[in-house]
């Protein structure tokens, strides 16, 4: 028998005390044990980007990191984007630009885009397209996703 680990994950500012096997990925732990099912799981091997979330402000694949590695780290998921009833500018922009169809990839794209824009607010069009190629959308909505993120970037740069 392998050892169990008692850990606390801090997700969107809230602590979740859970017990995990070392082999449990962060994606599985936050969905199954912390009840935060906004983060989706697609391929489970780092290709699709559905499970993208922010660890200490940078976007990572949560299927490629173990929960036991994430103690003391600020985890941000799609559930943390809206402030009450007020959607995050990126969420509004996705709606306005029809940047989703089925919506399965949307949480991953939102967290990817939030991470990119928070780290590189002045990102060029070419670099933004390259960075957004990180995630897969099977409804082929890429053009509108690029438009939505570009528009949100401009809005965020202009300030409230």
């Amino acid at each position: 028998m392998t050892r169990k680990h008692d850990i606390t994950l801090t997700i969107n500012g809230h602590d979740h005390a859970i017990t995990v096997d070392a082999r449990r990925t962060l994606a599985d732990a936050i969905r199954d044990q912390c009840g935060q099912t906004g983060t989706h799981i697609g391929c489970e091997h780092g290709v699709c980007g559905s499970c993208t979330l922010l660890l200490d402000g940078v976007p990572v694949r949560s299927c490629l990191i173990f929960a036991v590695q994430c103690v003391g780290v600020a985890i941000r998921t799609v559930e943390g984007l809206a402030q009450g009833d007020e959607l995050h500018p990126l969420q509004r922009s996705f709606i306005e630009h029809h940047a989703l169809q089925c919506g399965f990839c949307t949480p991953g794209f939102l967290m990817l885009a939030v991470g990119i824009l928070e780290n590189e607010p002045n990102i060029s069009d070419a670099d933004l397209r390259a960075a957004l190629s990180s995630n897969l959308c099977r409804c082929t909505g890429y053009a509108n996703i690029v438009k939505a993120v570009r528009a949100a970037a401009d809005e965020l740069r202009a300030g409230p």
Partner: protein
């Protein structure tokens, strides 16, 4: 799929990491750094290590420094650290350009330079850099420390000179002369995919001719290597299409490319020839700038 069960060890110092590794290496114990290659292979159950020694909490391994003419890259320095030039001049710029070809943006936030070397995928950009730029790799175990030259370190597909109980603690690259020009070109079928071939070149110019030429090819054979015949076609020649075509032809003649279901050896050979020429042209353009 889910990774198989393993025991997790979070090391707080290099000494603790190598002591634990020495203990667990005989039971398929492995180092966990960025995990961006290891964890997918664990998800497929292609790798089933019984122990993982996590080095992410070891502060000194995050060290990235330029001192005494040497760029030092600690074991936990992420690919994303190279998104902006880490040093002035051509070396910093070319490492930034190469970093942009590694996986995807979120992968680069987590994966590490040294981890790529330890993984030794034939299509690794950093393995090509280590070989072409004569990096020095430091390995540590409870038996002590040793240094290994880049070209000796990478031995084949996912095969390195590292012993099972050794931790790759640091990679060092000597800063090139200020007038060194660099060029890099790579081809993959999709953004972020494994490269089918890539070329990294550098040369210096004096009196209108190239010297100290280096030309490395990655992705085409089972490990990256410099192509001495191509370098010989450059040294002493003025930069331009005649020398570049000759060097690229020497690349094609020297390679024994890998084949797979979608890619013939001939295709990879022609690709490497083309990429060598493009990398040289881009180095020449940087010289003009």
């Amino acid at each position: 799929m889910k990774p198989a069960a393993f025991e997790y060890h979070a090391a707080r110092s290099v000494e603790e990491a190598v002591a634990t590794l020495a203990e667990v290496a005989p039971d398929q114990g492995r180092i966990l750094a960025g995990g961006q290659s290891l964890v997918p292979t664990m998800a497929f159950r292609l790798a089933t290590p019984e122990h993982l020694v996590d080095i992410n909490g070891i502060e000194e391994l995050g060290r990235l420094a330029v001192e005494d003419g040497v760029l030092s890259i600690g074991a936990c320095v992420r690919h994303a650290a190279f998104h902006r030039p880490v040093t002035d001049g051509g070396l910093g710029a070319i490492l930034t350009f190469m970093a942009g070809h590694i996986g995807h943006y979120p992968i680069r936030q987590r994966g590490t330079f040294c981890g790529s070397l330890a993984q030794a995928d034939p299509s690794s950009e950093w393995c090509l850099a280590a070989v072409t730029l004569d990096a020095t790799i430091t390995a540590q175990s409870t038996r002590g420390r040793r240094t290994i030259a880049g070209a000796d370190f990478i031995q084949g597909i996912m095969t390195t000179a590292l012993e099972d109980d050794e931790l790759l603690v640091e990679t060092r690259i000597a800063l090139p002369a200020a007038d060194t020009r660099f060029g890099f070109a790579e081809f993959s079928r999709r953004a972020g995919d494994f490269a089918l071939a890539m070329a990294l070149v550098s040369f210096r110019l004096s009196g209108g001719v190239m010297h100290d030429a280096r030309l490395g090819i990655g992705g085409a054979e089972d490990h990256p290597r410099r192509i001495p015949q191509a370098e010989a076609a450059l040294d002493g020649q003025p930069p331009g299409s005649q020398a570049f075509e000759a060097a690229a032809a020497a690349v094609a003649a020297a390679l024994d490319p890998m084949e797979d279901a979608g890619t013939s050896a001939q295709y990879r050979r022609e690709l490497a020839q083309c990429l060598a020429r493009r990398a040289l042209e881009s180095a020449a353009e940087s010289a003009a700038a």
